[in-house]
Symmetry: C2
Subunit: 370 residues, 2 copies
């Protein structure tokens, strides 16, 4: 079961609800990334506590390790990792391009060697559907080529044709439509004509949702927002839009303002483990000497486990000592904040004051907390 209802617009910003077999998702939504079948440092129970509505798994990584056989025998990814709420898997395209070695891309698919043991693999659009059906996420992605930012427009145009061909083949190969929703991925770099071509061709194929790929790869925030703004007018209003691999709290708000509904990014979790914590006051670099004897919580008005139990001084000590609990506590807060930010954005949209909300939040989010 998959259904999206657009509940309200405030400017271009949208509030909606997605229904899936594993529960509902209120949008806009941020999805924590569980690369290898775990959102790093978090337990499923804690993910529920930080109010994660849906998490992401990486097709490429899970296919490599533990491998499809094991996940199939476990009864799918949900059961394997003990997660009962909705899940999304990506297409593996981005990892094949960024991690795998000796790639040979053809119209058939991509032949590559594993970044782990050098073994040879062949991802075709059909095989990527087979993998994602075995994983069993509620939302899955078409196989795509994600060209690097440095690619020429000619290359991106050619690559786009391949991706569109793959989207068609994937859609044909995908049979589990009753339980999973397959999204098409809009590519086309920073070029509006290519983005338009990509979006229209995918819309012809009629996917239940559309992903925006190939951004946040180095193009800069202005180009990123120009493209989401451009696509907002093209993509159908009554289908969800998922912006892949983005981003900072301000990226999320700026792209919600451009009509995006869904986001995922490793940033809150990865940065947290290194002691860079996202807060409503900006980024807190917890190793800074100023926190040595600061016995206040990270955020005095935050309700997360970290902020209701521990001081900056203690978390600084743990992170400095490379203690696992330090990485856990910073991750908990950053993910809680991301969820809260999305809840606040949604409320502001529903109450027709998203622009004010943006104006209030944006000036501080990218600062460093002093």
């Amino acid at each position: 079961m998959f259904n999206f209802t657009l509940l309200h617009n405030c400017g271009k910003a949208r509030a909606g609800i997605i229904n899936t077999d594993h529960g509902d998702i209120l949008t806009p939504v941020f999805m924590p990334v569980g690369t290898l079948g775990t959102v790093k440092a978090m337990s499923p129970h804690e993910l529920e506590e930080i109010q994660a509505q849906i998490i992401l798994g990486n097709t490429y990584h899970l296919y490599m390790r533990p491998g499809l056989d094991i996940i199939r025998k476990a009864g799918g990814l949900h059961k394997f990792i003990s997660w009962t709420r909705p899940m999304l898997t990506d297409s593996g395209g981005f990892q094949v391009m960024s991690l795998a070695a000796l790639r040979k891309i053809s119209i058939e698919g991509v032949k590559f060697r594993s970044h782990i043991d050098g073994s040879l693999h062949h991802f075709t659009p059909e095989f990527v559907m087979e993998i994602q059906q075995a994983l069993g996420a509620d939302i899955i992605m078409s196989f795509d080529e994600c060209p690097p930012f440095a690619a020429t427009k000619d290359y991106i145009a050619k690559s786009l044709n391949t991706t569109l061909h793959w989207a068609e083949r994937g859609k044909k190969a995908f049979t589990n439509t009753e339980h999973q929703a397959l999204f098409g991925i809009v590519q086309g770099g920073v070029y509006e004509d290519l983005r338009e071509k990509s979006a229209l061709a995918l819309m012809d194929m009629d996917f239940p949702g559309y992903s925006i790929g190939g951004l946040a790869v180095g193009e800069g925030k202005e180009d990123m927002m120009r493209i989401t703004n451009f696509l907002n007018d093209i993509l159908p209003k009554h289908k969800p839009r998922y912006m892949m691999g983005v981003g900072t709290p301000s990226d999320l708000l700026n792209n919600i303002a451009n009509g995006v509904d869904m986001f995922d990014c490793v940033m809150p979790t990865r940065n947290a483990r290194k002691g860079s914590i996202f807060t409503r006051y900006g980024k807190m670099i917890i190793k800074a000497a100023r926190y040595k004897e600061d016995f206040r919580p990270i955020d005095p008005i935050c309700g997360c486990y970290t902020c209701t139990h521990f001081s900056r001084a203690y978390i600084r000590h743990l992170i400095t000592m490379n203690e696992i609990l330090g990485m856990r506590l910073t991750t908990i807060h950053s993910l809680w904040f991301y969820q809260e930010l999305m809840q606040m954005a949604r409320k502001a949209i529903l109450e027709n004051r998203f622009e004010d909300f943006l104006a209030e939040m944006l000036p501080v989010l990218d600062t460093i907390v002093e």
Copy 2:
């Protein structure tokens, strides 16, 4: 407040209760080790869930990092780390001997260089009391020299005199007797005459509890048990006995059989993080290929978070991938099992069937689960 009540004997094995300002402790008890102010990989909430009654902090490590100033300003170690139940700190003696560089031991104390930055420090029995009073644990230790197993009997005899002198000075310097209990540490290596001398001299000073130090340093299980058995007849019945740095599940049971009440060890936590898990069936080496597609819990009849939610195959995947959640889940189970083992031992003592319990448990505890 500190009080120990011996409730029942079954052979030499003892069941009792300790009362402290931060709550009661049922004995025999195992104390998870929180070296740097965190039981590695665990949150305080999870320590309560695995039913830890008391945890240990390391005086040497906490003195080095974050340092006394910060913990003092935080209002003590309990507040700094957000732990509300009882706590015990060691004397720092063992770490000074095993970690610090350029040690100069005299009757005054130990001058040494930090293992972290080479800075010069001087631990005297009085200063170690000052540190431990600032940390504020419910149970604290006399400063002692813990000679290496390879030391000669002559050296150990001489060292013992120093330790006794330090015990006397520490006891005199210790003033916070209303809220903390200071234990004397019995040393003397594997030599019964030295152990007897040590125990009797400390008993003359009348400590509220006695630690057995200098074992599990390489002497072998037979010597270890010979000494605890020997000390059982000497140490006063109505004071708790704490065996420092021990050990495996079978070590615990064997020494409970010799009248020991309290234990601490990094083994369950350290081994767990490497994928070696203690269970009632023996040690489970979770990386073993046999667990690749084993979808049963670590222990099907265990009630811990790990065993009620996750499979061996998933935990194997996480540990193999070096994922934090893997280390968390194995630590949770191993600590839960240690607590459960102590609860089972206590029940067996109270029900006058400790010998049968030993006979049932010991043959399997040291095996590797097949």
